[in-house]
């Protein structure tokens, strides 16, 4: 057994294809890691600028109602391995009592030249996707067919060794050879990552990278086994090679790009959207009625929401709706630096009104979210997930999904941030209630001291721990492993029954 492995290993290691595979993988991975690190650093700098800017803008506001608390999603350092949604989805969002924030309300900062998005961006997993699968097939195509043609297979089989052992020996030695370029290039890219000052990887990150390596090996093995299968089934090198190359072209190049245009794109159900939006509209219409009712029955004749306060400053009020993403919210902002004498008696009434309004807005926003959340899930997430299942019919899709999950750049990883933003909103509203912010004079005026933003709870987003990543990635990793086992069994059966 060991002799066999050694023989195969030496056979493979001394070939031109091994040297070429190692060289080209190293070259591509190192060159792209440089580019990706620079790109990551740029995004990080843009993130830091945005955080600073948002803080500064908040501090400048003298009233609470005018303040916009914005939180930013930091770029994920593991996006270098698989960029996933990290660059595509929104990375800043306003957190306020008026609206429960979600992925669909986010904004984006960081791209100074949107034209540059025309160029496809590349990550390390994409390189592996393309090149390792190609090499796996090149290593496999003549494993049986070649030996069969040259007659050495017959020679080997005359020895008292089981056919299963020969198969295992071939498999193990080729995989050892294929793992060399994979590990070497990853090692180099990790070294490059650690030398960069702006990227700090913690122990969890290294475990995640470990997960990516594991998945890559499983992916590699799938393609090697596909190659072996073709080689064992066709028995002729030239046919095996041609078939392998076309299978590669189909699985890697054609299928992932074509399948989504071929299947009918699940259109989001309009009826569902309309009904959800109607219910949301109802909530806010009720809110508006109660607001007007309050103003009409107030002991101070306050038909006007701002109590006709006249002073130095500005005010604005209004509803904002966007049916496409089921957005509906009410916003009233007042920013006064001072008032005239006449306004003083109105103050207590105004304060009481805004206290009422604040609580009502929070309540309406919370109720909206209860409708909005499942509807958004059904309209946007489910069709996208369906498409993802289609993509997983090719090992490339499975590999991509699994590594995204490890890196935390998949949809769930991005949504974690918005989950954190919603939790932050909760603590923000609690803070507003605890400090009676809505009833305070600073809600609409800075004349008796500006709003105090220093006591505000701080937002901190930590990526989920490795367990979560593993939980999300393991189904796909298992899928790859299962595929390996199935392919291996099929090859074994073909090989055992074949006549030499």
């Amino acid at each position: 057994m060991m002799t066999l492995i050694r023989r195969e290993l030496l056979d493979n290691l001394m070939t031109f294809r091994f040297a070429a595979a190692t060289f080209i993988t190293l070259l591509l991975v190192v060159a792209n890691t440089f580019v990706l690190i620079i790109d990551y650093e740029r995004r990080l700098a843009s993130h830091n600028d945005a955080v600073k800017m948002h803080q500064r803008q908040l501090q400048e506001k003298i009233t609470y109602s005018a303040g916009e608390v914005r939180v930013d999603r930091p770029p994920n350092p593991l996006s270098i391995f698989n960029v996933g949604f990290d660059k595509r989805l929104g990375n800043e969002i306003e957190v306020s009592h008026k609206l429960v924030p979600s992925l669909w309300d986010a904004g984006m900062h960081g791209s100074d030249n949107p034209f540059m998005d025309m160029f496809a961006s590349m990550d390390i997993v994409f390189i592996f996707e393309v090149i390792l699968s190609l090499f796996a097939l090149i290593f496999a195509y003549n494993a049986f067919a070649g030996e069969y043609e040259s007659g050495t297979l017959r020679l080997v089989l005359t020895h008292p060794i089981g056919r299963g052992k020969i198969l295992v020996a071939k498999y193990l030695s080729a995989m050892l050879c294929l793992i060399v370029p994979l590990l070497m290039s990853l090692l180099l890219s990790i070294i490059l990552l650690t030398t960069s000052t702006s990227i700090s990887l913690n122990s969890d990150d290294f475990l995640r990278i470990g997960g990516i390596i594991l998945t890559s090996v499983a992916y590699l093995s799938v393609f090697y086994l596909i190659g072996l299968l073709i080689s064992a089934a066709t028995r002729r090198t030239s046919t095996a090679l041609m078939l392998s190359m076309f299978v590669w072209g189909f699985l890697v190049l054609v299928y992932p790009n074509v399948i989504l245009t071929v299947i009918p794109r699940p259109e989001s159900p309009d009826a569902l959207r309309t009904s959800a939006f109607n219910r949301i509209e109802n909530i806010w219409e009720t809110f508006d009625r109660e607001r007007k009712h309050y103003l009409a029955t107030d002991d101070f004749p306050g038909e006007d929401w701002g109590y006709e306060l006249r002073g130095w400053g500005w005010r604005s009020e209004g509803f904002r709706d966007y049916p496409r993403i089921l957005l509906y919210t009410y916003r009233s902002v007042m920013d006064f630096e001072g008032f005239g004498e006449k306004d003083e008696p109105k103050m207590p009434h105004a304060q009481k009104h805004f206290g009422f309004l604040g609580a009502q807005t929070i309540d309406a926003a919370d109720r909206t979210w209860l409708i909005r959340k499942p509807a958004l899930e059904e309209i946007f997430i489910q069709p996208a997930n369906m498409e993802r299942v289609w993509l997983k019919l090719s090992p490339v899709g499975v590999y991509d999904a699994a590594t995204q999950a490890w890196a935390g750049t998949d949809l769930l990883g991005i949504r974690d941030f918005f989950h954190a933003a919603r939790q932050y909103r909760q603590s923000l509203t609690n803070f507003f209630y605890d400090h009676k912010v809505f009833e305070s004079r600073q809600w609409f005026s800075g004349d008796k001291g500006a709003a105090d933003w220093s006591g505000l709870p701080q937002f901190a987003f930590q990526r989920d721990d490795i367990n979560t990543n593993a939980k999300r990635a393991l189904p796909d990793v298992f899928l790859l492993l299962m595929l390996n086992v199935v392919l291996f069994i099929v090859i074994f059966l073909i090989f055992v029954k074949s006549e030499v």
Partner: protein, 467 residues
């Protein structure tokens, strides 16, 4: 020579690779046509609706020359190309409209005048669907066809040498270049057959559909694109012959060819583009806003300084008009500068990627299909021309009215008469084949040059090869 070509052809026609290539190309081309027929009518409809709305808006504004001049010609839309199935060309990343902006008020209670404003496409942040490349001709030709070309030629010489038939062939009294050219032509024809078949099926499907019409101009363009596809295939065939001649074993030849293919076709374009993009940093959005703010403040100061002392009425109007126009012009210049810097960055990145033949081919296909970046630049140029025409129209109409005091920029100084909406110049986004041809000539020559170099390389290698 024809004898060899014929022999190659027969060899290929019976082979597995020919069957696979045919199936693959046919499948892709039919998918392409089906998707296009599904999407194009919607696109055209959307464009027509938008244009109609824009024209209607214009009618509302034409009640006085001042309002028309101040609020501008409305939104200018990019006309969707009917050959979008040939090349998507990053269209989703390019804005399809150029608008204008006018400020409701600038300094001194004056109203701002219209200026060109270039929106950038904000990426669709709610799009959580998986990211895929569109299967257009550029993809099929660029990736699939080049791969097929390599698979057809990697063993052309080395395979025969391994079998020993090469020696046999060379024993015949014919020059070596005939053999090489024969092999080249044989391979080219054997790829040309499935390609032509697939293209014809694709075009048949598209041209018989009533949903889209292809004009004579479009057929001309399609012809050129087909020629580019053949040239590009020839380039990879020549590369395959070259490597196949230099290397004694087919397996090694294939590995080398695949490495070259993967590097130059798959990786070089995007890697180089991101490297090249890093060399320049265009004005950021924040910077743009800051510059605009500064210019605005300066104008405001000048305005204040002028009115610090008493000014007689006629001069006042004169100054105010100039003030409004200058403000708009200044802002437009900044917008223009910002856009130019962005475009320069992209142009540089695109030029860098032209090391790779696929980038050249894709740029060529884009420019003939009337999509992509070059087309976008043409569209921008068209809007600028239109803006000039529009301003000229305003000035001409105003000078045609004897009651006006011919001070553009302020209501009191301009003609009070309503404008007939039909007289206002219409924006027409045109595509000119000659213009495209001139722009693409460089790329085309580059592609031909590369082809000639590779083919003569293969010739030289083959002449010197020992059998």
């Amino acid at each position: 020579m024809w004898h060899i070509a014929k022999r190659e052809l027969y060899d290929n026609l019976n082979s597995l690779r020919f069957a696979l290539a045919t199936v693959l190309l046919l499948g892709l081309m039919l998918t392409n046509a089906a998707v296009y027929l599904h999407e194009q009518p919607k696109r055209t409809q959307k464009y027509n609706a938008a244009v109609t709305e824009s024209v209607n808006d214009l009618t509302v504004r034409a009640d006085s020359l001042y309002t028309l001049a101040r609020e501008g010609p409305g939104l200018l839309y990019k006309k969707p190309s009917s050959l979008r199935f040939c090349a998507e060309g990053g269209e989703p990343f390019l804005p399809n409209v150029v608008g204008g902006a006018f400020l409701w008020s600038i300094s001194g209670g004056l109203k701002g005048f219209w200026r060109l404003n270039y929106p950038s496409t904000t990426p669709n942040l709610t799009d959580i669907r998986p990211n895929v490349t569109k299967v257009d001709w550029a993809f099929i030709i660029g990736y699939v066809l080049s791969l097929i070309a390599i698979l057809f030629t990697f063993d052309a010489i080395s395979g025969e040498r391994e079998l020993g038939t090469l020696r046999l062939m060379l024993a015949n009294p014919m020059p070596r270049y005939t053999i090489l050219i024969g092999k080249f032509l044989g391979a080219l024809i054997s790829i040309g057959i499935p390609l032509t078949l697939a293209v014809l099926m694709n075009l048949l499907l598209i041209s018989t559909s009533s949903a889209v019409q292809l004009g004579p101009d479009a057929w001309e363009r399609l012809g050129i694109i087909f020629f580019i596809a053949i040239l590009y295939t020839g380039l990879f065939l020549a590369l395959g012959l070259l490597v196949s001649t230099c290397v004694s074993r087919s397996a090694v030849s294939l590995v080398i060819l695949l490495l070259i293919w993967v590097t130059f076709v798959v990786f070089v374009p995007s890697t180089l583009a991101s490297i090249a993009g890093g060399f320049s940093s265009p004005m950021s959005t924040d910077e743009l806003w800051q510059r605009r703010g500064e210019l605005y403040a300066k104008r405001w100061e000048r305005y204040d300084a002028y009115f610090a002392e008493r000014v007689e009425r006629s001069k006042e109007i004169q100054f105010k008009g100039e003030h409004v126009i200058a403000e708009a012009e200044e802002q437009e210049r900044v917008n223009e500068e910002h856009l130019a810097q962005q475009i320069d960055q992209v142009k540089f990145a695109r030029r860098t990627t032209q090391i790779s033949p696929i980038a050249i081919a894709q740029h060529l296909i884009e420019s003939f299909a009337g999509t992509g970046f070059e087309r976008h630049l043409q569209f921008l140029e068209n809007t600028r021309t239109h803006a000039r025409q529009f301003r000229k129209f305003i000035a001409d109409t105003d000078s045609g009215d004897p009651e006006s005091s011919h001070i553009i920029g302020i209501r009191q100084g301009m003609s009070e008469k309503p404008v007939s909406p039909a007289a206002v110049p219409k924006f027409e986004d045109t595509l000119n084949l000659n213009q495209d041809f001139n722009a693409a000539m460089m790329d085309l020559l580059l592609l031909v040059l590369l082809f000639v170099v590779l083919l003569s390389g293969a010739y030289l290698a083959f002449v010197r090869v020992e059998v």
